[in-house]
Amino acid sequence: MLFVFFTAITALYFILLPMLPLGTFFLSAVRFITPIQVIFSIIMGFLLSILILLSMRSYALGVRINKGAGAASVLTGIVNVFCCTPIIPLIIGIAGASSPFIFRYSPRVQYFFAVDYPIFYLVSVLLLTYSILTVASNIGCCKLDPITGKNVPSLNQEA
């Protein structure tokens, strides 16, 4: 099961990461994947597949899980969509900035996403690791209290 998830998610990252700067579904972009993206696709694919499996296990056991960190890790993994698409100038424009302001400052923000994108991959890996550790420790120790909606020590743990 882990292998199936790992293969599927890694393949998804392989397709997604080089495609994001173009801002559209464009399969030809896959061949432009960089070595950094290959390495992080494999790492993130592995961690995310473990997290999904652990979350499924938690669900089956009735243990409450924190989905926030997992979701944030996926989002930080795909931020280089902000590099080359018009999203940043549009967001600055929607925020009410004038054209000269957008002309002058949006490239600085876009440059950060274009050049420093591995930082976000690293953050994504850290968040995934944190999520896995949290979910795993909850499975080991807790069960979900249906009234409060919080994890409480399981009977085994109490004993």
Binding site: P21, L22, S28, C83, T85, P86, I87, L90, G93
Partner: protein, 200 residues
């Protein structure tokens, strides 16, 4: 069940309802923000894309400006009239631009040639004031050097200000053989098929 337990349960239920409502508000706000961004992008793309109805602002002729090519030669944009042309404003540090150059070189350049479409690749003025590699290195690495009908160079600042007022990293204009702008869009690499359809 004792009275105090009932009261506790009631309080918990109320708290849960409150939390649920708060969560609903957050989700709805998130959806609204995403919808707004998607709508803005969609509006921007449909209003300017070559395949859709072209706004009246786009029916203007391409201005006359001088492009300094990477081999030092100077050409005028007007001198290229007579053939359909793609004027591509790009940035050397933008990954979609390097990908587009490679896609053009390997997949689309021959179609451009056979359809008589000229490609005028202009670096956004001073790489939009961010450090990037030189245009000649970029071209040598990703494609377009010494290819007939593929002109790569720089233009004065006012050209970038006029044709790329929002500092998009990868934006293009489609110019017909009469020198009229008939379309524009962002992300040339992903739109090459529609570009050819519009100009051929």
């Amino acid at each position: 069940m004792s009275k105090s337990n009932k009261k506790k349960l009631e309080q918990l239920r109320k708290r849960q309802i409150k939390q649920r409502k708060k969560m609903e508000k957050i989700i709805l706000t998130g959806i609204a923000v995403i919808a707004l961004i998607v709508a803005a992008i969609h509006y921007e793309q449909t209003s300017v894309n070559g395949n859709n109805s072209v706004t009246s602002a786009l029916k203007k002729p391409l201005s006359d400006f001088t492009v300094t090519l990477i081999n030092g030669q100077k050409i005028s944009s007007v001198s290229l009239e007579g053939q359909p042309m793609v004027v591509w404003f790009m940035t050397t540090w933008c990954s979609s631009c390097s990908e587009t150059s490679q896609i053009l070189q390997s997949q689309y350049y021959n179609t451009f040639r056979s359809d008589g479409i000229i490609l005028l690749q202009i670096e956004n003025y001073n790489d939009l004031n961010q450090p990037g590699e030189s245009l000649s290195n970029f071209a040598a690495q990703y494609g377009g050097v010494n290819e007939p009908g593929w002109y790569i160079g720089t233009a004065p600042q006012w050209v970038t200000e006029q044709y790329n007022p929002y500092s998009y990293l990868d934006t293009y204009y489609l110019v017909n053989s009469q020198g009229q702008i008939v379309g524009t869009g962002q992300g040339l690499g992903a739109n090459l098929n529609s570009v050819i359809q519009t100009l051929a």
